[in-house]
Symmetry: C2
């Protein structure tokens, strides 16, 4: 695959084919140790989709975390003094906060009902992406569990990409998506928290518009836009339709990773 | 049309049809006074798309602004003292800043090469969405022009929706999209700056997930997710493919508007 090349990757053709997103049917509820690659290949077969190079597969964070055993039993967590302090401010469960802190580099905002952190992976989000669930790793639930983000989402995407290539010969992009809030706008939107074989960021620097005026907007968060598109079909209870096949991305794929999307701290407008 | 109803609007069916986005071919370069509704209907015909109720049309901000004559000749702008001051800090043209200020309620961040404002429409964005162009309202350019956002994007969307209903009988959603930067992440993504006939925000409050655990994420920025999806096909030089037809949104449409997406100032995490 080519590395980033701002000249060719941004020359989408004038006659663009449609962008088609399809939710894969029939995926079972995911448990620790499940082979997501094999399950996704079965889902593609069930949808009668034959993978082609240039396709992208978007996978909901929640099923990746479940397959990778990222559950934490709430009853087993002992909150630190810092967690107790933040629980007071936010009015959240101190054990929940303890797990959030263990997944975070830094707390950026703590207010009533709000805890914004820099996740250990480098992006900023609420609650370090930790979800609550009343279902344990092995089935029907009584106790409360927390579900943390995948340990290394880019690595998961690379492995899935390799699985798809081995099985089909197709060079596909893979992303893991989650729903994030925004600083200024209501509502969450899908964003990518892991990327492989796909330009996370399209670099348009040096390009000009139709009238040879150099574009002011120089970088486009392509993986986030595709994650948002996939999120429309996944719905919020994203275990129903957790895998979306995307065909028709009008840019050549290349290697890519989450780091492209993370704003360097010195350019962060929030801190 | 129904008003917002959190119970039914979030019950997407389990067998979800694909989400299909198609760029309309053959739209001409837009000039002030052009009838966008008629041009979009012609583009739909050229793409052999027959509008159906539930479809959504996404229109690039730039062509709406051009059709509505939102150009400002740079040479005619006289910068105020405040604009001169901000030009010093940001190293941008003081006449450009003057126009940005005329479109803004408040300046939130001014740094080298960065000017973040609250737009008069209520959302936060860079440069009040004002673009530079070397093409004037009537064609080939020598002078520099600025292009401001549409005066009332929701009203434009409502008019287009009405035009489409009158011509086809279909109840479609319409959004105007622009590319915005994010506080914490690199790259722009498509967002909605005008909405009609479409839930800008999906309200999931009171819903439970597969296991009857009440969802923590309660509101989804649907119009922004669709704008991001459309943006993938529009590309950045968004006059090439400025109108995207979207079919397969898995939620019932209803009335909606931009205001749903604007976070109340007291909940804004940025200020």
């Amino acid at each position: 695959m080519r590395q980033a090349n701002s000249v060719t990757e941004t020359q989408a053709s004038a006659q663009t084919p449609p962008l088609v997103l399809t939710a894969l049917p029939g995926l079972p509820l995911i448990r620790p140790g499940d082979d997501l690659g094999a399950l996704i290949l079965a889902g593609l077969a069930a949808a009668a989709i034959k993978l082609r190079s240039g396709d992208v597969i978007a996978v909901a964070q929640k099923i990746v975390s479940k397959a990778e055993g990222r559950q934490v039993r709430l009853a087993e967590v002992t909150p630190s003094a810092r967690a107790l302090e933040l629980a007071e401010v936010t009015q959240k469960d101190p054990r929940f906060i303890e797990v959030v802190l263990s997944e975070s580099k830094e707390v950026l905002r703590a207010r009533f009902n709000t805890l914004i952190v820099e996740h250990r992976l480098g992006f900023v989000c609420a609650n370090a992406g930790v979800d609550r669930s009343n279902v344990g790793p092995h089935g029907a639930g009584q106790e409360e569990y927390l579900l943390c983000l995948p340990a290394d989402p880019d690595a998961t995407c690379r492995r899935l990409r390799e699985t798809f290539r081995a099985a089909t010969g197709a060079e596909v992009g893979v992303l893991i998506n989650d729903s994030h809030g925004r600083a200024w706008r209501n509502g969450t939107v899908g964003v990518a928290i892991g990327v492989a074989g796909l330009p996370a960021l399209l670099d348009m620097r040096g390009h000009s518009d139709l009238f040879d005026y150099t574009l002011q907007v120089t970088q486009v968060g392509l993986a986030d836009e595709l994650a948002a598109a996939a999120s429309v079909l996944m719905g919020q209870a994203d275990e129903r339709r957790p895998v979306i096949h995307i065909r028709g991305v009008p840019y050549p794929l290349r290697e890519g990773n989450l780091q492209e999307l993370i704003r360097p701290r010195e350019l962060d407008l929030f801190r």
